[in-house]
Amino acid sequence: MSGNSRSTAERDDSGGREVVLSVRDLEVSFGTKRGRAEVVRGVDYDLHRGETLAIVGESGSGKSVSTLALTKLIPIPPGRVTGTAHLGGTDLVSLGEDELVHIRGRRIGFVFQDPMTALNPVHTIGRQLTEGMRHHLQLSEGEARDRAVELLDKVGIPSPARRLGDYPHQFSGGMRQRVVVAIGLSCDPEVLIADEATTALDVTTQAQIVDLIAELQDDLGMAVVWITHDLGVVAGIADRVMVMYAGEVVEQAGAVELFERPRHPYTVGLLASLPVLGDTERGDLVAIPGLPPGPTDLPAGCGFYPRCSFRDDPRCETERPPLREVVPGHLVRSFYEVPEEDARRASAATRIAIEPPDVRDEGVA
């Protein structure tokens, strides 16, 4: 299943910024009773310093696994990871457990979905925050404590010194996720992976956490990989977007380009099926029929073929389409591009018929 196009992410469209993470031909599979489940089938990208890459997809698309596998945060066996992932000069895929412990939390930070499970309920916030710094940065207890206070302050927790002794249940959901962000940042990572980091939060809290991470990213210059299913969040923060379906990258482009002129039938379908604030239509949404395929019974040809309403090429059914660069920086895995007119009809920009009220004149707190 390997040997598909490699040229994908080799182009540097970042204005010459340094590449911090370079992933090639990444494949992840799991041995199951029903045969090998190919969960990630060839992912390539370069992540630049200070850049935000969003990986979008539904459950089972491989978006989370493709990033968890970088530092082997998946059970191996039954999991198997192949390909390369260079962080600086180190290929993460070739590293063993004893070396990976110096990468996880140190050079790659994580923010996971549910702050209640990401935090240990029986340890204080202070202990959980300082643990990584003491281990990775060899800070003394006092130094780690000072930095913990600084971090809590940075993520917007009031009276941080006093809160170090508190337990997770003493924080609200939003505050807990701020603590998780602080832990993710504590060792000054080069890459922060935010895996559905705001999915469990209310919209008002989500907006705050999204903003917080963007602000910290500007300050610290780290690169961020946002894994999410929420295209609205992506629109607000991503420099580049990778859309995954059935273990493959089906489309990759700059954020503005992707939302304005999506070319893959799945991306177009996803955008069209989204309810959008300000869209005055009250009728049915344009839903994508059917279900995504399971990882053990993938279609022979294009993974999206069975659900595709644009399929137009005899090869779609039998041949796996290559990832092609259709315009500079815009990659599509399809034999067929969705016509501009259909793409435009699906985009939120076209569907928004009435603008939201402007909140600026009343002064934003």
């Binding site: 989500q206 503005v256 309810p275 959008v276 009728g283 279900l291």
Partner: protein, 330 residues
Amino acid sequence: MTGSLLEVEDLHVHFPVGRGRDRQTVRAVDGVSLALERGETLGLVGESGCGKTTTGLALLRLVEPTSGRIVFDGTDVRALSRRDLRAWRRRAAMIFQDPYASLDPRLPVGETIGEALDIHDLHQGKQARRRRIGDLLERCGLDPGVADRYPHEFSGGQRQRIGVARAIACEPDFIVCDEPIAALDVSIQAQVMNLLNELQRDLGLAYLFIAHDLAAVQHVCDRIAVMYLGRIVEKAERLELYQHPQHPYTQALLSAVPIPDPVRERERQRIWLEGDVPSPIDPPSGCRFRTRCREVFDACDRIDPALQPVGEDHLAACLLHGEVGTEVTT
């Protein structure tokens, strides 16, 4: 407001917590009034903990209201005896958020649907029962042949279709849809929303659509009510609410909803809400939103604002629109 399918007046649901001297009261729903017409969808939105789900449950007496009036098509629901309540529930159903937790894993899905038919004695004989179950599954976009399968054999979207089939089994007039799409994948959400739309058109159902996703709510609802800390703070026609939100909380909520258009999304200004939602055990005096409101002024802790007209068929409970409400007695 006579002739509405459902009229709710001053509904309260309070839960006691603690014992003895520590006994306190969680005021989960604290004075909610609403009305629903036949065939209409009313959206109920708000953040977690605002009482929207409890409101939905209380309407069906799945939790007992503490006080208030619920009148459904002329019937005083709170006055119903246990037996009458059971019979009444045929007309009012519920669809739950989690399609994994809301189906019995040990029961074939056809039986889950059939149970409702048995309880209300709605079939003549085994054959007819089987046919009816098949019809219901088909109506909800599933193969009638899957009736003998168990929930684990279905995807989340399919399970939610089964939940919908169960809800419409007894031909209700009204369904409480509690976050029916929140647990589903994006491409499946639209399928389920379309199914609900279609059933409403064909069967004349009225929905109370409880959700936190304002974009989805704006799409499927006729009118929208916004809840905060046990109260409805604003209520309006769906586009009116979006274009002319009058309550500072609604304004903040709308400004936080991400829009999948990078150009608009990056230019937007948000209204930040400071702090956390206060505890429903001891809500702030006067206006409950005052502790986080950017427009707060001196009257806000003195007067508990009542819903007042602020536009055509548009109500808001905010003192900025006139100091209408109950004086706080201390």
